[in-house]
Symmetry: C2
DNA sequence: CGGCTACTTGACCGGTATCAATGTTAGTGG
DNA sequence: CCACTAACATTGATACCGGTCAAGTAGCCG
């Protein structure tokens, strides 16, 4: 029995062999804890490690000159984060714990060993990184080419859809531990305007809000408004089947 | 002597062994030609192949409802494109030839074979895909959090910087075969506003324009305006050295 | 020469940002 | 449990960036 978050995630894509599971479990032997709001790793700092997020929410962001910030990705348990240090000797983004978090650091040498010893897992990691790239493509299109309201809708949908992967497919409501300023930094808006858009979404009957909990009331209309595509539903790993 | 575009690109990162070079060269045995403006692959069409771009410029885009388009990436010789089909059985984006192009298609089986037989190359592909992701992160920040003028400046800089990789580091001017509408779709602006911003950049003495050729006059100021980071310059593959 | 397609320009509009004030909630220490 | 405080959410007034619409111009290719 493994309690490797990463192995659980990967097994959603592919049935893993015992050897593969064992290797993955070893990656999570070291654990590090971070408190809510704590910075895990600072942009531009030297970094040759990446992290498996074992518990909690985190996000990454890029800081631009004087007070501008772009949140790049929300990270959920099972996500591999801080992967930019694979390509650079330093961090291209800042990682911050949204809630209390448990992380498992690994270094590049471990990544190389994984690719050398379990090329199928390496290929799977490559596949997943491509899927995440597509997800970033969608975000880019959302921010570049849709209205404020659609962008907020798309972010909320993405959160719910990803939350479901680990917590059950029939979930409608999520406690979102982000401030409206965070949501603004993720969608390229101001917190003031995020507030107005969320009120409009409520008024339209697409969502309801209670404190930080957001519930999807009319998912179909929300998907249409956001022009959202659920990529996670169509991932195809058939060509990796059979070790 | 190889004429594999891809091998040349990868050898910028790492000194390749003969066996690795030979394997890469085999990937480019099939070539397919596309004319300027021709669509290589349509969004949502079934697709289990990806392409090495051997010659010419191409780009990928996502189409959103009624007439909205987000250009995702410009592709230059040596780039691997259409990689979304690795994770999905279909294309998440449309690929189009900007100029006449030569492409080498490969399928997912070939990718898996590459990872199995040359895990170091697999790791390198993973590394490169992470570097490209960071580059997308920068674009996201540019579009989400900077002004129209900065976005156009960032796109121009990115084109010049990437063009230099294959064509010489001292280049200042590039013939850009994109319409202003294309540039708008890449930066999240309208063609009309792109036009205004490019005129401003000229007026400010940062660039000069002659037909479709753009010349960088004051790179330092342009970098500052765009808040541009040249990631290509800091890629670190030292941990892959030694097979 | 004619008919595209793309670029340029100007007038005007609307969506989102900005600024500022107030209300609300969560956290802290007494 | 309450008072105090800081952070966050909400609301309104106003400004401005970039979009929209429309017309005119310039290249380009048959």
């Amino acid at each position: 029995m493994t309690n490797s978050c990463f192995a659980v995630r990967l097994s959603h894509f592919l049935e893993l062999t015992d050897a593969e599971e064992k290797t993955l479990a070893r990656l999570e032997e070291n654990r590090r804890h971070f408190k809510r709001g704590e910075i895990i790793r600072e942009q531009d700092s030297p970094a040759d490690e990446l992290f498996i997020l074992n518990g909690g929410w985190a996000f990454s962001y890029i800081r631009l000159g004087d007070h501008k910030r772009q949140i790049l990705r929300l990270e959920f348990p099972g996500d591999l984060m801080g992967t930019s240090s694979i390509a650079f000797g330093h961090a291209s983004d800042t990682l911050v714990a949204v809630t209390d978090c448990v992380l498992c650091p690994l270094d590049r040498v471990a990544v190389r060993a994984l690719f050398d010893e379990h090329s199928r897992l390496g290929t799977l990691l490559f596949l997943i990184s491509q899927a995440e790239r597509v997800s970033m493509d969608d975000r880019l299109a959302s921010i570049g080419r849709t209205s404020a309201k659609s962008r907020v809708a798309a972010l909320l949908l993405d959160i719910v859809v990803r939350y479901r992967i680990m917590n059950g497919e029939d979930l409608k409501g999520v406690e979102i531990p982000l401030t409206q300023e965070d949501i603004g930094d993720a969608t390229g808006l101001t917190s003031v305007h995020v507030n107005r858009m969320m009120q409009e979404l409520s008024r339209d009957g697409l969502i309801s809000r209670n404190r930080h909990e957001v519930t999807i009331l009319d998912e179909e209309k929300l998907v249409e408004l956001a022009e959202y595509v659920n990529r996670y539903a169509t991932i195809d790993t058939s060509w990796l089947k059979g070790s």
